[in-house]
Subunit: 193 residues, 2 copies
């Protein structure tokens, strides 16, 4: 029927994630998107609708990608406590290294947009729900295997893990570069397990 797209929609979305992650929704202009995605304005609008729709699609992809990643890691883990430690240590390394996409795209979007955009708010809340569930399942498994203390309920620990993660990502976004600060937080978190 017609010409084929010269770009991959998925790759374009990854580029959109990058620039929105770095600059936020309101901080990213249409020109920024054209430049960073390497598409013309028409292709961009023909493919994704408008800026808000593109943002929602990008955030959805980010949530899906990161969810699948964490879920897989935890489901194939033999020692839950060690694996959780690994996940958090990786988050710390990322926080200290990355110079562009600091923090967490989901946390940033929650703070900037959840109050003002119901579609984004729903993505954020859904992410929270499924992430809590992933942690919950993992903690439960860890408790049954005797790797995690049963002093606290699995639900409570799952929620606390998620909350601590959010805090760390804010810290990273604020530019905290002292590894000791992160390590203290991790030490405190894992003292509960």
């Amino acid at each position: 029927m017609a010409r084929t797209k010269e770009f991959s929609e998925d790759q374009a979305l990854d580029k959109a994630i990058e620039i929105f992650w770095h600059k936020g929704y309101n901080g990213t202009s249409a020109q920024d998107l054209v430049t960073h995605l390497g598409l013309s304005r028409s292709s961009l609008y023909d493919t994704f609708g408008d800026k808000q729709k593109l943002f929602a699609k990008a955030l959805n992809k980010y949530q899906s990608d990161s969810y699948v990643k964490v879920k897989e890691i935890l489901e194939t883990a033999t020692n839950i406590k060690d694996t959780l430690t690994l996940i958090f240590k990786l988050a710390v390394v990322e926080s200290l290294e990355d110079r562009i996409t600091k923090g967490c795209f989901m946390v940033n979007s929650a703070v900037e947009l959840a109050m003002h955009d119901e579609e984004i708010a729903k993505i954020v809340r859904d992410n929270q729900k499924v992430m809590e569930e992933v942690f919950f399942t993992a903690v439960k498994k860890g408790q049954e295997a005797g790797q995690i203390s049963t002093k606290q309920e699995a639900r409570l620990l799952a929620r606390f893990i998620f909350n601590t993660y959010s805090g760390i990502r804010v810290l990273a976004r604020a530019g905290e570069k002292d590894k000791q600060v992160y390590d203290d937080i991790l030490k405190a978190l894992f003292s509960l397990f």
Copy 2:
């Protein structure tokens, strides 16, 4: 020499805190400021310079006000653990009640601007420093009085308190309305004390 101002600069700043807190920096337009502060454009710019300067002044006032408040409460406290519990329970109530200025203005600003505005980044980092110090002093006092466990170092606990607070404020900003979620987080936090 001349006419006196018809408005209080301090009250105007409080209004600026409100609107910036609610909408963020990039989400707040000059017209929003004029409308919400009740000043003319000229008065606004004559008094505060420009939007960025007004924001920085507003954030500075917010940090100063909230710092003084927490510091006073903790310094006059007879039981540190109970007082910390009270502070966090109040934060939860605010998170559940407030419909406008959800979350924490400092956390929101850190996420939105710290990477892109060095002046704001400095305010955020300074706030982090002094808040950690307030918590540190309080925890230390609590440990010496036997109100807080000495199983963890005071420095570590102070950092963890701050981090958990950030997380809670993100949760509130995301629109979490389930009190049980907040209570679980608080229960986990205080199980460390």
